[in-house]
């Protein structure tokens, strides 16, 4: 697997990070303790390097019509300045990736795929662009992405933004983005995240990333900010019930089984790739009356289920865990799993086969954790 390094690799080494391969990238797994990092994000703030994520600009007169065709959502309906969570599907409805698209102008979108899928998504977009008057430009290699997540994220960020621009930040809504001066530099700031907390994501050229990283750490220290690795990013997103591509989402799966039916706009007038197959899947009741469905499982004991462990009902395999671990915030094991729809109702008692031993779990509604507004 190709080893890629983000522009912040040396910063992570300096901070004592242990590294892991993720989607072909050497990424910080944790700096000290993943539990401490998890709690910092829930109670104060955490600083994440997300530069492994992709960035693809889609520009031109047909930008909106093209994304309506290439993605499952209705991107033409997104107001300039706002963002939308969407899926890029295969003709058969299988999920190539889940991604966020920011509308930056009438004819301008920034599409952000996952690290491991960035190349594939950029290629699929370029291929699907045939016949549309658009330019598809993959700028992943020169773009870094830094996230500040947690209840103190806004005050930390404001310390690096000139006073007259503070309203740009304080009035920025969830799933919206704005150009704002941060640490003396005009940058794209989005109020998005993958932690279940309030927070921001900042797009920045590689050569400036280390400077901003250090400035945020220095300013943030007084607000409880610490650098946070992928280990806690995974536990945070799991508590927040957010799917991870490769665990909950795949080419073999589909949006209806994953609970992402509302993300698919079958109602949009224009055709889109996967529409015919997705219409059939929906009409068949996939994920509601037939097949398997993604659910939350709450552990009644102390042991956690892990990815690929079988889910049992009275000893029979009726599903499989996709993600699972002890929840640091809630204090009990949580898991997401695909289970047969007849066993998917909240309150259903199921077991996870923990290496030969049945451990009791209960189906619960997702998310496991929701922050107080």
């Amino acid at each position: 697997m190709t080893e890629n390094y983000t522009a912040l690799y040396e910063e992570h080494k300096k901070a004592g990070a242990s590294f892991t391969d993720f989607g072909g990238w050497q990424m910080p797994l944790k700096y000290s303790s993943e539990l401490a990092e998890h709690h910092a994000v829930r109670n104060a703030a955490g600083l994440f390097d997300l530069s492994h994520m992709g960035e693809v600009w889609v520009t031109g007169p047909d930008a909106a019509a093209f994304l309506d065709y290439a993605l499952a959502g209705k991107l033409s309906a997104v107001a300039v300045g706002k963002a939308k969570y969407s899926l890029i599907c295969q003709e058969d409805g299988g999920i190539i990736d889940d991604l966020i698209s920011y509308r930056r102008g009438e004819e301008k979108y920034l599409v952000v795929p996952n690290a491991g899928n960035a190349v594939v998504v950029a290629a699929a977009l370029a291929e699907r662009a045939a016949g549309f008057d658009v330019k598809v430009e993959d700028v992943s290699a020169e773009t870094s992405l830094i996230a500040v997540q947690g209840p103190n994220a806004e005050s930390i960020l404001l310390a690096l933004v000139p006073g007259e621009q503070h309203p740009f930040v304080t009035e920025l809504k969830y799933y919206a983005a704005v150009e704002v001066e941060i640490n003396g530099q005009e940058l794209l700031l989005a109020r998005t995240g993958y932690t279940g907390e309030d927070g921001f994501e900042i797009y920045i050229p590689n050569e400036d990333a280390a400077g901003l990283w250090e400035a945020l750490l220095e300013i943030g220290a007084g607000h409880g900010l610490i650098p946070a690795g992928l280990a806690c990013r995974d536990s945070l997103r799991l508590e927040a019930g957010m799917p991870l591509y490769g665990n909950e989402l795949s080419r073999e799966g589909n949006p209806y089984a994953a609970g992402l039916g509302p993300v698919v706009s079958l109602a949009k007038e224009s055709d889109f790739i996967g529409k015919a197959a997705l219409s059939e899947l929906k009409a068949a009741g996939t994920g509601s009356t037939t097949g398997r469905k993604l659910v939350g499982l709450k552990g009644l004991g102390r042991r956690a289920g892990r990815g690929h462990y079988p889910v049992l009902k009275e000893g029979n395999v009726i599903g499989e865990v996709t993600s699972g671990q002890p929840s640091p915030t809630l204090g009990y094991p949580v898991a997401m799993a695909y289970v047969d729809v007849e066993h998917a109702a909240p309150g259903t008692a199921l077991d996870i086969d923990l290496r030969g031993k049945a451990e009791p779990f209960e189906v619960v509604a997702l998310p496991f954790y929701k922050r107080e507004k």
Binding site: K30, E34, L35, A231, R302, R303, A304, Q325, P326, P328
Partner: protein, 127 residues
Amino acid sequence: MSKVVAELKYSAEHEWVAADGSGPVGIGISAVAADALGDIVYVDLPEVGSAVTAGETCGEVESTKSVSDLYAPVTGEVVEINDDVVSDPALINSDPYGAGWLFKVAVTEEGPLMSAEEYASKNGGEL
């Protein structure tokens, strides 16, 4: 770098053995292993009175990120387990060679064990 204690012996599966030549030996997992596992949240130990065999699994250690088998570094009878570490597994992270010890065995036979120097050089620990 993770600490390796000079006075102990180590198995290839990262257990340490405190063998002073008399009485039951204390067993735990090395700081190298504890650091690699991450924050430990659950530990399953063999029962007092049970027999363990060097090189065979005798329990589990579970962190937020993963589950690992615990291998017996010696053969013999378990004579004591650390109840504190069962109720507070984080002790394995905070004090792997002290309060985070796991169990004691009346040894009939040692498995293959390494010196601290050998273990540290193989696993990137610091003496």
